[in-house]
Every structure is written in C-alpha cells, then in structure tokens.
C-alpha cells in the first residue's frame, strides 16, 4: 500500500510529509522533480514514475502535487482514487484556507455511508442535474466527436433513515451510468428507478454518459477565420459566435480561450461585446463574451502581430469555448418524481438543471 505521502507546491517545496511505515527520505522526490523538469508543463508530469526502489504515483490538484511512495505491487488506480479522496477531504476541511470548525467524529451505523441519529428542523432534498458537453468541432463546423458527461449531485438534509426513490421521465437515456454505493443496483436493473438510503449532506448520486451522436445537441456555432500571411509580420483574426440547438434557452457565461502560436507578439482586436485579454507571455487570448443575444451576434476581430522574420506558424490554434445554459439538461433527461419511505415527515424537494461546456474545442 501507500508507504509515504508528500505534498509539494508549485515552487517545488515539500511542505507536508506523512509516513505510514518507515520514514522514506525526502530525496525520493528528486525523481519526481526530474520528471517535472522534463515535462516542462506541470500538467504533463506522468502520474506513475519508477525509481530504483520505489514507485511514485502522483496527482495534481489545485496547484498541489500529492506524491505517494509505493514499494509493492498495488493497483495504481486504487492509489490515485485514494489521493483524490485525500485532496477532497483537505478541500472540505480547509475550505478557503481556514481550518474548519470541527474535527470529524465517527459514529456507528448499520449503513456505512450514513451516520445514525441525523436530525434537521427543515428537511430538504435537492438534486442538481449537471451536464457537460465534450466536443471536437472541425474547421468546417461539423462535429468530429461529441458526448455528454452528466452527473446528478444531491444535497440531502433529511432526519432519520429516509429511503428515497428517484424516477425519470426517460430513464432509457441512461445506459452508461456509475452509481454511488448507496444505490440498489437490482432495483435499477429491473425498474430503472434509483432507490437508495442517502448519505447525509452533499454527494454525487450518479454520473452518466450519453454518447449516441443524435442525442448530443451542439448549442453554439463558431465562425472563424484566422490567417497569417506568408512573409509578413501580421495576420487576421475574426471569430463570431452564434446559437444553434439551444432549445430556446439563453446561452450565457461564454468565454473563448485560444492558445496562439509562439510567434504571435500581440493582438489588436475589437469585440462587439464583452472584453478580451491577450497574455504575451503564455500567448493565451481570453475573450469574456457573456450572453448571446440572437439579434446581434458577438464577434471579435482585428490584427495579429507576429515576430518579424519568423516563419508563418504551421499549427492552427484551437478555440476552447465555455458556456452555460440554465434550466436545461441538454440530453433531455428529466426527473419524474421523488418518493420518500421510512420516515413520516414531508420533505421539501427540488431539482435544478444546468448544461455547460466541458472540453469543447473548435479546430480552425
């Protein structure tokens, strides 16, 4: 299992270490630093590194590396999942860099994921259906790849031992689902109903994937023309965004991010809406668009200044699009009803839907 754990910040300081068996010297992290240097970008550090006597399995979360030291053959996914859980716990506990209010105390219960004796004055059960669209759109605007990554996050504050059943209008949509352990798998298999005794508080009830191409609507389109002239130190940039299959809802929170080629020195652009920034060091262009109003489509146009004398860039920058649509699950998933058994009170129930862009990329 995990022999030791090191927490390393972005500047390479080992600021926390924990050893479960014997103490493994910090110097083992040198192998990690070596790999980090080779990777150039922090996100590119390989998660499994072998050293002469140990294996280092690491995750990168919130600008921190969690580096675990392994000595025997162990499932790396076990370790990685566990490290993410450790990171989650830290996040819960430290919150906004403050130490949390209480140290957790354990409590015995017949249901391992729910403590006994939960009491609330207001009994509430909220569900958030959140769908993210991952897509690659090619130059011509056709979809190379698209799928929906959905989750249902629950916030349950119910007294006692409530037994819940959540049913959907169209459960057939869900053919690739991962469940929280509280869900009774057999019930789902036979009736397509989510039946469970929930954990107390916030948790992820299910995550699912919808990939069948005709079910994945693409709510925005992008018109673009990015060109660099041969033997000249300038180029043109022209991007326009418009609504496509948006089911009549407003698309908001739109941001466009573009990693421009290295030879780009500066950009001189005019947005019809929102503001833009260009970081000449990282070459990242960020355009904060806001909402789309169909009457006047937002666009960003202007000149690109290149390093003089450098050859015209070979690579075409991809556009990374972020957006959000409230009150809509783009897959069409709809909750039918929520029933509670096992307790007598009447809970307050609510369901919210939101669709967002996940890894949504437009190639140019």
């Amino acid at each position: 299992m995990i022999h030791s754990l090191f927490l390393i910040n972005c500047s390479g300081d080992i600021f926390l270490e924990k050893h479960w068996k014997s103490v493994v010297s910090q110097s083992v992290c040198d192998y990690f630093f070596e790999a980090q240097e080779k990777a150039a970008d922090v996100e590119n550090v390989p998660p499994v590194i072998s050293t002469p006597h140990h294996y280092l399995i690491s995750i990168y979360r919130d600008k921190l590396f969690f580096v675990s030291v392994i000595q025997t053959e162990v499932p790396p996914l076990f370790v990685i999942e566990f490290l993410h859980r450790v990171a989650d716990t830290f996040q819960d506990y430290f919150g906004d860099s403050n130490v949390g209010d209480t140290l957790p105390t354990g409590q015995l219960s017949n249901i391992p994921w729910r403590r006994a004796g939960v009491k609330y004055t207001n009994n509430e059960a909220y569900f958030d259906v959140v769908e993210e669209i991952d897509a690659i759109i090619d130059k011509s605007g056709s979809t190379v790849f698209a799928e929906i990554q959905g989750v249902i996050d629950a916030c349950i504050k119910l007294s006692g031992m409530p037994d819940l059943s959540l049913s959907f209008m169209n459960p057939r949509l869900l053919d690739d689902v991962s469940f929280h352990p509280c869900i009774r798998f057999k019930r789902w298999e036979s009736e397509r109903v989510l039946s469970f005794i929930p954990p107390d508080g916030n948790f992820r009830l299910i995550s699912y994937r919808v990939s069948s191409q005709n079910l994945v609507a693409i709510p925005v389109y992008v018109k673009h023309s990015i060109s660099f002239k041969e033997n000249s130190s300038c180029g043109r940039f022209d991007v326009t965004i418009g609504p496509k299959q948006n089911m009549g809802k407003t698309i908001e929170g739109i941001t466009v991010t573009v990693h421009m080629p290295k030879v780009v020195l500066n950009m001189n652009l005019t947005p019809t809406q929102g503001g833009y920034t260009f970081d000449p060091v990282t070459k990242v262009l960020t355009w904060d668009v806001g909402k789309i109003t169909p009457q006047k489509l937002p666009s960003l146009k202007g000149l690109v200044n290149l390093q003089s004398g450098a050859p015209k860039p070979e690579e075409n920058p991809s556009l990374n699009i972020q957006f959000k649509i409230q009150q809509l699950a783009i897959s069409g998933l709809k909750v039918n009803r929520l029933d509670m058994y096992g307790e007598k009170y009447k809970p307050f129930k609510g369901v919210k839907y939101v669709t967002k862009a996940g890894k949504f990329q437009v190639r140019t």
Partner: protein, 939 residues
C-alpha cells in the same frame, strides 16, 4: 471560533504552560491543552517531552479527547518506546470498553504503534477484538493483524492470527470479510508462496455476497482476490461473471478496472458461442469508455490497460474509436496513449476518420506528439492496405510543410511502407530526394539511404546522392554508416560500370579506417563476396526481402495473456510482468489465463488445477543432488566466514545457498535465517568457521565432549559498540575445566593488536586462567577463534542476576566492556554424585520452604534418556523409583563453590512435561539450576 486558533502561538515556556494545563482538573482545559499539543505536533514542533502528561489524559470517556491522545501516541511512540509501554494498560482496558467505537479505536491505534517491545502485549487484546461481537471492531482488528505482521511476522504466525483471519472470510458482516481479504492480501504480498488465500467455491460465494455490500476499497481487494481464483468449469465462471458485472457501474474507477480484470480473465473460459459471451463483451465497453472522462491521472492508467484489452479482445471497443480522439489540452502522456490505441483500433471501416485526425495532430505544437502522429500514419498504411494510398498522400502533404522533424518522421515511415508494398509507391521517391539536405537525424538519414540503395536503378543520380553522404562518413552514426555501405554495394551490383570507384572507397572506409567491428565485418564480407563470386553476391545482397509484418509492436501473446491477469496493477502500466520489475523479483508466481473447461467434460479431471496458479508454473527451488554436492564443495573452499554448518546440510539449506541473494533476503525477511555469525547452531561445540573445520571438530568432538551441551555462540559485543571489534562466544566445560570460547572479528578498517581480557568480580569467582592469546594481529575482516580457559578462584561478589559476568576487553584501539550470562551447568563439578543415605538425610535436613518446584514442558523424554543426558552435564542420578506409574529420579549436583543441589525429577510416561523439585541451602541458585535442566534436557 475555528480550530485555527490552536495553531497561533507561541510564547516563551510554552511546554511548561502546556504541562500545567494538561494536568488541570478541568476537563475542558485539558482538552484544549491536548488540542494545542496536537497542533504543535502537526507543524513539526517537538512536544515529546509532554509524553507522560498526554498519556495521563488517555483515560477519559470523551471520545474526541481520546482520539487526540491516540494521535499523539502514534506519532511519538516510536521515538519513546519505553514510555509507550505506559500506555499499554489503557489500550488493554479500552479494548474492553462497552463502546465499540472505543474498542475499535484502541485496536486501530495499537496497530499503528510500530514499537516491537509493545507488540506482545497487544496480542491478547487483539485476539479478543478479532472475536468481538461488534463487526466494526472485528473489521478494524482484521487490518491490525496485517499491521502487526509487518512489524513482527513470526509473532502473528505463532499466535495463530492468520487462521483467525482466514476464519473471518466467512464472517457474517461484509465489511469484516472485505478487511480480512485486504489483510490477507497484504500479508500474502510478503509470503508469495503461502496459500493464505486459498479459495474454494464456498469462500467464493462468501466473497461475492460481501462484494455487494462492502466499501469501495473493500470491493477492490475482493475483486483482486477473486481474479486469482480458477473456476472449475465454464458454468462457475459464468455465474461469477454475472455477479461481478454490476461492479462495472461503480463510481470508483479502481473498482471498475478490477471488475474488468475478473471478467477478462474468466471470459477466457467461456465459449464464444454462448449468448452470454456476447452480452459480456457489450457490457465491457461503456465502463472502459467512462474511465476516459475521469481525471487525467486515472485516464492514463485506464489507457495503458485499455491498450492491453484492445490487443486481447479488439471487438470490445471497435466501435468506440472517437473517444480516443485527442483534445488539444490533454496532458501529453494521455495524448500519446490515445494515439497508440487509435492505431490498434484502426480498420477499414474507420480509417478515413482516423487519418483525418492524425493529419490534424501532425500540425500540433508538441514535437513528441507530432512525431508520433506522423509515425501513426505510416502504421495505418501498413495495417490497413486499402488506406495505404491515402496515407502516402497524407505523408507527402506533410513533407510539403517542410517542418523539419515532420519531414524526417515521414521519410522513416515511408521506408516501411515501401517494404510492405514493394513496387507501388516509388513515384514519390523524387519528392523524398528533394529533402535530402534537411535530414539531420540518423534514423531519417539511414531510411533515406536505404531507399536510394534499394531503388538505385530508378534514381538517375543515385551515385551522386550516395557519394554526397560519403564525404562525412566518419562523422555519421553507425546506423547510417552500415546503411550507406549496404546501399553502395547494392548500387554497384545494379550499375557496376559507373560505380566501381565508389564501392572501393566505401569498402576501404569501412574496413580500414573504422574502429567499429560490426562495420568492419560487414565491409569484409561484402569485399570477399564481391571479389570471389559477384553472381552469388547479387543473389545475397539483392535477395527479395520478406514483407514486414502487419503490426510491429504487438505484445507477444503469452506475455499479453499474463498481463491480462495483472490488469489494474503496475505491471499493466509498464506492460511488463511483475517479475521484471518488482523489487528483488522475489517469489513472483506467474499467472496465466485459465484454460477453457466446459462443465460437461470436467468432472474432477486431475489436469485442471483446482485453485491458484497451475502447479507447473511454480518456481522450482529444490536443486538436484548434483547441484547440492557442488555447493557443499564450494562451501569448503570459501573463506572462513559464516556459512551454514556442514552438519545442517539438509536439502533446504543447500537450496537456499544455491540460489544466493534472492532467496537469502526472503529468508531474512521471515526471520528463519541466520543473521551473520550469531545464531548459527554450532553442533556439538563446533565453532562456526568453514565447513572443513566443522568436519574435523565433528569427529574429534564426539569423543571428548561426551554430550555436554554448549549453547550456540551469541554476539556479546556488537561491532558498532566497540569500534569495529565484534565478540561472540559461549561457555563449555570439558573434563573438569571450564572455558570461554570466543570469536573475535575485526570489522574495522585498521589492524587490531594487543588484546587482553579481564573479568569483574562475580558470584562464583570465575576468572581467566591464562591471558588472552591472540597470536597474530587481527586484520580487517579477519576472524579468530580462541578458547580461554577459566578457573573459579577469582574474587567473589554476588551479582544480579546471579550468573551475570562483566567482562572488559582491551586492544590497541580502546577498552570495551560488556556483560553476559553464563549457563550454570558449566559450574557443575564431576564429583557431584551424593551417596544415597546422605541424599536422604540432606533432603530431610533442608527446610521445606527452600524447596522450589518447576515444570519443564514439551520435553518428551523417558527417565532413562533424561538421566543419561543430565549425567553428561554432571547431574547425577542417585536413586530411581516408580510410584504409581511415574518415574521418580533423585539427583544431585555440586557447584564449584561446594554448594549441593538436590533434585527430584518426576517423569510421567506419555506426558511431555517433567516436574522438577529442587532443594538447596542457597535457594537463590534454584532458578538457575532449573534453567540449566531445561537447556540440557531440551538440547
């Protein structure tokens, strides 16, 4: 108010203040103080000085406080082992607390205290907790066994905890089952050959039941354990698969992958005609795809595994090509893996899509990725014949970009395409030749040269091109030089008239001016061939080459099958069997996929291994007799260090030595092994030196020693305490004279001389009868054996314990002190047999309160044997009688200082225990006499 306040500090005399607060009467204040202590501890301040005060707070019914104190204990017990013992009592008490949470907490903490001294105190509480009525306590105790095993494996085995763990696999509570499996798996890791996790259909059923209800981490252990089971037939395999399939929908990716492993392995046993086989294939795809939407680190491990799965069963993911398409902001390690899988999945049906993607990637920023993408296009051409033409034209497009590394990669792969489809795409050669000058990487240069040589007859200026390379011949890498040599020879064979000069030039460069033997040899071979038989040369050099295979980088099938058994492990990430990289390669048992066995034909066929790995795969450690003999001979010739003594030349010992380092370390781990020089049993007083001298001592020893028991030499003075001098020794008594057998080893780097020895005053006046004679200086790493004669006429002082002897040894470096305990029987004199009448009188005379009774257990000797064995150590049987079936031996012995000890030894036939009653006017010796009895009788 938040807990952060505990971290703000620090005034002067903090420790002092905390001490006062910890000892406060007010519970609240105490708790606050402990919190402050913990806060200091977590930020790395040393608060170990507060150990006793914090431990005092342990006895509380406040759970939060108790947890904090336990936390403190776990941190400091290791550095304060003596103080940690103070906490033992509370642990024992807490393990009986009415609150199961406290019982579990106590047993959990106990396991985390890695102090050897404490472990034995923990056995009883642990035993109780393993049988606790509350499952929470039992499951915690199960893990504690694994922790204890890590500290002291022998103890865990001796205490029978392993059997208890095995029993817990049938526990009624799923969490307990899961933790028992987890603990056993962990322990089995250090005992790979043990059958700790032998599974049968009943235990499998238990595991499958527990699987549905235990925690996610427990599920991983259970699934990994199930994967090691071999079902007896296809029906059993299918029923296990059916019960494992729901795990594919688990949110924890490690659970999913472990479930995939079980299914991939057991599928092997199912017939492809079964409907269920098809269903299973369909069910495997979605969870694998879902893994790809997780965090990038998880994706990476998943992709490495999918790479194996795709090679073993391509049908599972054949429709999922698109999920492997690369996003521009994927980490590079994810991109490269996705690309690899895309090629493996490429087929006629999806090749157009794949090619379009690859072309896109070839214009990305990351150089490594672009190169791999270009190579991938070449691999597609080779794999899918219908696409070859499109691939070649894509590559030509890429060459037109003139991006240097793209061009070079393209040329390398085009060479492979030529070899797969000869005489088809040579029209592109002209375009390739245009880029000749820009090639600066050896692989690309070599590829280009190969192309020019191979198609020399179609390239008008082939000779000029090759000649241009020849100019800098010596600066080229070997790869390029070899290729150039071959290409020019080919050219000569094709166009002999114009190129004679060129070929002579290259042959002389290769054979006369090169230091590289490969190059010279190849040069000579061509030279000889060309000069003796040009026709034969043509047949050899221009022979038709075999086509290159479809896919060059497939994993070899038997390795692939083995790796499928290791899905989800590090082996699957590295695509190597664990034996190739697990530290020390110790005891790795090869796994293999189960043979397909249909239920109808498999009624208890002896060929099918019932559980675990097939028997044939077990490593064979027992050497043949010949090897053993050779090994013993080697032993004789070896330097006089601590080899195993000849007397113990059992097959096992031979085997251990034969296998050398690897297994030695294994033995060392499990603590059977002899630590150097110390516990090697010296049979019959033989000193531990080379095997040869053992042999001599063995023969001579039998005559003179007449069975006097000599303890094996023990290290009395470790080298680290005596500037490199290590002393081990034992005591003997031979025909009336006592001696101290010493072994001095110089473990320092300098020579040692001027040895002398002195004893402190002791209970029986033991003193050296002669000076310590070390004849030659002791050089580094040298060992000498010395027998120091002793007498008992030295000064007397009562020691505690009675048989304690303090010794000073001097050499040219320093004076060193150590103390040792001598066995009392070296003081039993030869004339210790008392007259019968005298015995009776003395027995009556010594007051009854001076009589002590002892039990000598596990000593199944009859009266006869016991008597003769004792006599050889000067304990004499005065009389013997039989009372109600029991043999009573009346014995006497006399110590060097004239003290008589009288004994009654009761031997009950059929019972392994002897009862010893001792009477002596100086009762303090009784205890030591009893120990002497025990040592003599049991050895």
């Amino acid at each position: 108010m938040t807990d952060s306040k505990y971290f703000t500090t620090t005034k002067k005399g903090e420790i002092f203040e905390l001490k006062a607060e910890l000892n406060s009467d007010k519970k609240e204040k105490k708790k606050e103080a402990v919190k402050k202590v913990i806060a200091s501890m977590t930020v790395g301040k040393d608060v170990s000085a507060l150990f006793p005060d914090v431990v005092n707070c342990m006895q509380t019914d406040n759970l939060e406080l108790k947890k904090l104190v336990y936390l403190y204990l776990m941190n400091y017990a290791k550095s304060q082992p003596d103080m940690a013992i103070m906490a033992v009592n509370t642990f024992v008490k807490d393990c009986e607390d009415p609150n199961p949470l406290i019982r579990a907490l106590a047993v959990r903490t106990m396991g985390c205290i890695r102090v050897d001294k404490i472990t034995e105190y923990l056995c009883e509480p642990l035993r109780k907790c393993l049988k606790d009525e509350d499952p929470y306590v039992r499951k915690t105790a199960a893990v504690c066994v694994a922790k204890l095993h890590d500290i002291n494996a022998q103890l865990v085995e001796d205490q029978g905890f392993l059997d208890t763990l095995k029993d817990l696999i049938s526990d009624s509570n799923p969490m307990v089952v899961a933790n028992a499996v987890a603990a056993l798996s962990e322990i089995a890791e250090s005992h790979p050959s043990s059958n700790l996790l032998d599974l049968n259909p009943q235990s499998i059923n238990k595991l499958l039941t527990a699987l549905n209800e235990c925690t996610e981490w427990g599920q991983i252990f259970i699934l990994d354990c199930l994967a090691n089971y071999t079902p007896k037939d296809d029906r059993e395999a299918q029923s296990i698969c059916e019960r494992v399939t729901p795990r594919l929908s688990h949110a924890n990716s490690a659970v999913v992958l472990s479930a995939v492993k079980v299914l991939m392995k057991f599928m092997e046993m199912l017939s492809k005609d079964l409907d269920y086989y098809g269903t299973l294939l369909k069910k495997l795809a979605p969870p694998l795809v879902t893994l790809l939407s997780a965090e990038p680190e998880l994706q990476y491990v998943a992709l490495r595994n999918i790479n194996l799965i795709v090679q073993k069963r391509p049908e599972i993911l054949k429709h999922e090509m698109k999920v492997f398409f690369v996003k521009y902001n994927d980490p590079i390690y994810v991109k490269l893996e996705k690309l690899d899988i895309m090629i493996r999945l490429a087929s006629q049906a999806n090749i157009a899509q794949v090619l379009a993607e690859l072309k896109e990637y070839a214009t990305e920023v990351d150089v490594d990725f672009v190169r791999k993408a270009v190579r991938a296009i070449g691999r597609c051409a080779i794999k899918v014949e219908q696409s070859a033409e499109r691939c070649v034209s894509t590559l030509l497009d890429l060459i037109q970009t003139k991006v240097n590394y793209v061009v070079q990669e393209a040329i390398v792969v085009i060479k492979d395409i030529f070899r797969k489809y000869p005489n088809k795409y040579e029209s592109v050669i002209a375009t390739l030749c245009e880029n000749l000058d820009s090639l600066d990487e050896p692989e690309a240069r070599a590829a280009m040269i190969w192309i020019v040589g191979e198609y020399a007859e179609r390239i008008d200026n082939a000779d000029e091109l090759l000649e241009s390379f020849l100019e800098g011949f010596h600066d080229e890498s070997t790869q390029v030089q070899l290729q150039l040599l071959t290409a020019i020879v080919k050219l000569f064979l094709k166009k002999p008239t114009e190129t004679q000069e060129l070929v002579q030039q290259v042959l002389s460069l290769a054979t006369q001016d090169s230091d590289n033997p490969d190059l010279r040899d190849r040069g000579y071979i061509y030279w000889r061939l060309l000069s003796t038989d040009p026709v034969a040369a043509k047949e050899v050099v221009l022979a038709e080459k075999p086509l290159i295979s479809e896919e060059t980088d497939l994993i070899e099938p038997t390795l692939l099958d083995e790796l499928i058994c290791y899905i989800g492990t590090l082996a699957s990430v590295y695509h190597k069997p664990p034996s190739a990289f697990v530290e020390g390669g110790r005891g790795v048992v090869h796994k293999s996929l189960p043979p397909r066995t249909a239920s109808s034909e498999s009624t208890e066929s002896p060929e099918t291994a019932p559980t675990g790995a097939p028997a044939g795969e077990q490593p064979d450690v027992i050497p043949t007799q010949g090897d053993l003999l050779g090994d013993l001979l080697n032993l004789d010739l070896g330097p006089p260090v601590s080899g195993p003594p000849l007397a113990a030349s059992s097959v096992q010992m031979g085997a251990v030595d034969l296998l050398g380092g690897g297994l030695d370390s294994l033995i060392g781990d499990t603590s059977f092994g002899p630590p150097p020089a110390a516990a090697v049993p010296a049979r019959l007083g033989a000193p531990t030196s080379s095997g040869l001298s053992d042999l001599f001592d063995l023969t001579s020893g039998v005559g003179t020693l007449s069975g006097f028991y000599v303890a094996p030499k023990a290290v009395w003075l470790p080298a680290m305490k005596a500037k490199g001098l290590e002393i081990s020794g034992t005591f003997t008594r031979q025909v009336g004279s006592i001696s101290m057998d010493l072994q001095l080893t110089n473990k320092a780097l300098q020579v040692m001389t001027d040895f002398a020895i002195q004893f402190n005053r002791n209970s029986f006046g033991l003193a050296p009868a002669a000076p310590l004679q070390v004849h030659a200086p002791l050089s580094p790493n040298q060992t000498v054996e010395i027998s120091l004669p002793l007498n008992t006429v030295g000064s007397v002082m009562k020691m505690e314990p009675l048989n304690n002897l303090q010794v000073a040894v001097k050499n040219n470096i320093d004076v060193f002190y150590f103390s040792t305990l001598y066995p009392l029987h070296i003081l039993f004199v030869e004339d210790g047999k008392m007259d019968r009448q005298m015995f009776l009188a003395t027995w009556k005379d010594i007051p009854n309160e001076n009589e002590t009774q002892f039990q000598i257990r596990d000593c199944p000797l009859n009266a006869e044997a016991a008597s003769s064995r004792l006599q050889s150590s000067n304990i004499f049987t005065v009389a013997k009688r039989n009372v109600e079936g029991q043999d009573m031996l009346y014995q006497s012995l006399k110590l060097t200082n004239g003290i008589w000890v009288l004994a009654e030894l009761r031997v009950q036939p059929g019972s392994p225990s002897l009862t010893l009653s001792l009477k002596c006017r100086a009762p303090e010796v009784s205890q030591h006499v009893y120990q002497a009895y025990e040592t003599i009788l049991k050895n």
